[in-house]
């Protein structure tokens, strides 16, 4: 127990903050340093509109809501837990920072309960609702997200999705309560496509191949990739394989690629599958037969990718995307918030480096909390679900990873990151070097923040029109 616990409610959040910082300054332990960083970053993270922090002048409104409870659906079990664990830790970290800052608007603390979305996810979601959760976050799976979407609209409690990549999720729909922070798959595929064009050059690409997971996500990604690479580089797809999720066997696909010798291989394999695929491709000399292998989500399995592969493959041949977040941007040292989040995350159990999924959890919580603050600022009281939903539409906010906008189509957009996968001996994990930052307008149909009439253009239609 530290003396923080004895602080009384009369003091403002700012006072508490400064006090804690001073406490940490007096100590050299790692934990306290982390905490100092964390608090600094929390200020920034929640300062999307700096005035929202209210309370700075000790004159906050009384919003009569001491606590909100949130539910997070994510993969805590099974092969996909490699992603879900990051999302969960990210969301937990965001909640921790918010509470360290005294809560939303300095008053309302958050609690977070996590459930596995692997089986009967919708049941668990409804359990959250039955339990009276004020907000829900998640899920990761695209199939679950589609199912959940209509439940959310029925229940009328705001949900901010962490992932759920399908392009079509909100197309042709008119969602009110359902939002998605990350992983609109057009964005990550287009980031990969532009990365490929940048590194290999459109003129050097005649043929492409794909190995993507054999379910809706993989088929979606490959479909978008094929269209885009055809429009932008006039390249032909010579091979397209869809191995089952978790099959662990890519021999036949790699053999096919070796005999076709395409210029570029595109693979949206993720988690353990991505690292197994890279291992086997390495063993079968696939990298000798192609100019580049690009994976929009390779970096999601940063913890599992083999050092030998990354070191053994010619530099620049493995291109990896990192969706809407990469911890190395802005460069370490240039943003205290980003550094603080990195330090805090790597201090958590089971996280070597925070990946885009870490940010999907962190960002979803931040999106909601900052929107609630914005609403409180306007209303002077705690908003109801409809008001939160209305505020979230078009809401812009900062995270340590950068600025994001929740568009009117309920799809959040931010910068996309992609670069060359390299090994870093210092952190014992792969990193992305020569990172290209693609702006949201470059890689997605709707321009950031602009209040265009919703869904006038589908993701697929946009890619097709390039």
């Amino acid at each position: 127990m530290t003396d923080e616990d004895t602080t009384t409610d009369e003091r403002t959040a700012a006072e508490k903050r400064s006090e804690r910082i001073s406490v940490s300054e007096g100590s050299t332990t790692r934990r306290n340093v982390l905490k100092a960083g964390a608090v600094g970053a929390a200020t920034a993270a929640l300062a999307g509109c700096s005035s929202l922090l209210g309370g700075d002048d000790g004159d906050s409104v009384n919003i009569d809501q001491d606590e909100v409870s949130a539910g997070l659906l994510t993969f805590t079990e099974g092969a996909a837990a490699i992603l879900g664990q990051q999302a969960q830790r990210g969301a937990e970290m965001a909640v921790e920072w918010i509470n360290d800052a005294g809560g939303i608007a300095g008053q309302t603390t958050m609690s977070l309960e996590t459930q596995d979305e692997g089986s009967n996810a919708v049941d668990k979601y409804n359990q959250f609702i039955d339990d009276g959760k004020d907000v829900t976050f998640g899920p990761i799976s695209s199939g679950t997200h589609e199912e959940l979407f209509q439940e959310i609209e029925t229940n009328q409690v705001v949900n901010v999705g962490t992932d759920g990549t399908v392009t079509t999720l909100y197309e042709g729909e008119d969602p009110t309560y359902s939002f998605r922070f990350q992983n609109y798959d057009v964005m990550e595929v287009m980031a990969s496509v532009f990365e490929i064009l940048e590194r290999v050059g459109a003129d050097n690409i005649d043929t492409v191949a794909g190995v993507n997971p054999g379910y809706s996500f993989g088929q979606d990604e490959m479909g978008i990739f094929e269209t885009a690479i055809d429009r932008l580089a006039d390249a032909e797809t010579v091979y397209s394989g869809f191995p089952d999720l978790g099959s662990g066997d890519y021999a036949s696909h790699i053999s096919s690629i070796n005999s076709e010798e395409p210029d570029v291989v595109f693979s949206s394999l993720w988690g353990g599958d991505a690292s197994t695929f890279l291992d086997q491709a390495f063993q079968r000399d696939m990298f000798d037969n192609v100019q580049a292998v690009a994976g929009p989500v390779f970096y999601g399995s940063a913890d599992a990718i083999s050092e030998d592969v990354v070191k053994g493959v010619e530099r620049g041949k493995i291109l990896s995307g990192s969706r809407n977040y990469y911890w190395g941007i802005p460069e370490p040292g240039r943003s205290p918030d980003s550094d603080a989040l990195y330090d805090a995350a790597t201090g958590q159990d089971g996280i070597t480096v925070p990946t885009a999924h870490y940010m999907s959890g962190f960002g979803a919580v931040t999106a909601w909390a900052t929107a609630v603050e914005a609403a409180i600022d306007i209303l002077g009281e705690f908003p109801d679900q409809e008001q939160i939903a209305a505020t979230l539409e078009g809401h812009g906010f900062y995270t340590p990873g950068g600025y994001y906008t929740m568009n009117v189509d309920h799809q959040c957009r931010g910068n996309g990151y992609a670069g060359v996968l390299q090994w870093d001996d210092n952190i014992g994990a792969p990193v992305i070097e020569d990172v290209n930052i693609f702006s949201a307008t470059q890689i997605s149909p709707s321009p950031t923040g602009a209040l265009t009439s919703q869904n006038e253009q589908t993701g697929e239609g946009w890619v097709d029109s390039l």
């Binding site: 079990e77 039955d130 589609e146 379910y215």
Partner: protein
């Protein structure tokens, strides 16, 4: 012969319909069960934090209905179907496709369509499985089930692995208005519409159970019993064995189709993993055995229990070498072991006269001291099994002296 009360061999019997007479105990169980099910919404609200939820129980009811159908083959024709998800999935997908592609919204029409589709599917698959019995029957039904699963999950038009939503997707209409209707009532919103659909489902289930009762007590049911017990003899008694088994297969498929159709209406979304996959078929089979495949209501109760159990068991989390792990599958497995070794007649079968729980309770009531020997016996069996394993491992590793 109208409903009424009669006294036979000194026992009070309650006649529900012609040929259907229940003991007082059975009647009380039935009434209690129905009261509980019809009042589920209230009960789950009162339960508060207790893990009693309507959705898993509903899932149990509709899968249990499929298990009741499967039981017609299992109990009477003694054929083990390992592919019953095919019919459940057919019913569910029929509803989903009709709603999303053809804007059909009437729940009753959808349910009839699910029955028709399941009938056709069962007729097709059944025709090819007719010559087989025993393990081959199980494996060929499994093969057809997995074939259907593999095909469906590869169809983009059916949403692939993500499946499809059970709503029309009409433009300019809110999501809530895109869902099916029952007798003109919009089946949306959490509280009331789900309750209406639950009640409707329970009525469908009651009718289905009464029909199944008539089927098994009819000459046709008798013929199925005969075919199951001694197929060759039945053939040489002039029973058209294949035609009867085919008919039974179709009827059992229809029950799967109704279950699947109701599933789609309630959960509003259909995906191959939860309606067509081989382990869904397995679950339907285990529901029948868990509840007691020698009984009419057993499979339905087995369904409710298995789903509720899985729901509760997953709350149990142990911390192992690799961190926190949900122990749901372990617990479900342990319960299935218990059924195999201690209560082979299943839940309902064990509660009936002659069943283990019923007789055990009677003995215990007469002489409470038997509990001691029971525990001792259980201990002895466990110790013996352990010794046997050790001995066998020793034999294998070091040879027999």
């Amino acid at each position: 012969m109208t409903p009424g009360i009669s006294r036979e061999d000194g026992q009070l019997k309650i006649r529900i319909m012609k040929g259907m007479e229940l003991t007082v105990r059975e009647t009380l169980g039935l009434v209690a069960g129905l009261v509980i099910l019809f009042n589920l919404p209230t009960i789950t609200t009162l339960a508060g934090d207790l893990p009693i939820r309507q959705r898993p129980i509903y899932r149990g009811i509709v899968f249990g209905l499929a298990a009741v159908g499967l039981n017609l083959l299992l109990r009477h024709s003694e054929l083990v179907s390992f592919g019953h998800a095919a019919f459940f999935g057919t019913g569910a997908y029929t509803v989903a496709v009709l709603v999303s592609d053809y804007q059909v919204k009437s729940a009753t029409v959808l349910l009839v369509a699910a029955i028709v589709a399941a009938t056709l599917m069962a007729a097709l698959i059944g025709y090819f499985t007719l010559p087989h019995t025993g393990l081959y029957f199980a494996l060929i039904t499994l093969a057809f089930g997995q074939l259907l699963f593999s095909i469906v999950k590869g169809q983009r038009a059916l949403g692939g692995t993500d499946g499809i939503s059970v709503r029309t997707g009409e433009a300019g209409v809110t999501i809530l208005e895109q869902f099916p209707t029952l007798f003109g009532i919009q089946l949306t919103g959490q509280e009331v519409p789900n309750t209406i659909l639950l009640w409707f489902t329970l009525v469908v289930v009651i009718i289905s159970m009464l029909v199944m009762y008539r089927i098994v007590k009819s000459p046709f049911g008798r013929a199925l019993d005969a075919i199951g017990q001694e197929r060759t003899r039945a053939r040489f008694l002039g029973l058209p064995v294949k035609r009867y088994v085919w008919a039974a297969f179709i009827i059992s498929g229809i029950y799967g189709g109704i279950g699947g159709g109701l599933f789609a209406l309630y959960f509003r979304s259909v995906a191959p993993g939860e309606t067509l996959q081989v382990f869904v078929s397995g679950d339907i089979l285990y529901m029948a055995i868990l509840g007691g495949f020698g009984t009419l209501t057993g499979p339905l109760i087995g369904g409710i229990v298995l789903e509720t159990l899985a729901n509760i068991a997953n709350e149990v989390v142990f911390t192992g070498p690799a961190g926190e792990t949900q122990m749901g599958r372990f617990i479900t497995g342990a319960v299935l072991l218990l059924i195999v070794f201690v209560f082979p007649k299943g839940i309902v079968g064990s509660l009936k006269p002659g069943g283990r729980v019923f007789e055990g309770a009677k003995t215990l009531k007469n002489d409470p001291t038997v509990a001691g020997p029971w525990f001792r016996q259980f201990g002895q069996v466990t110790v013996e099994a352990a010794k046997r394993s050790v001995k066998n491992v020793r034999y294998l590793l070091f040879g027999v002296k």
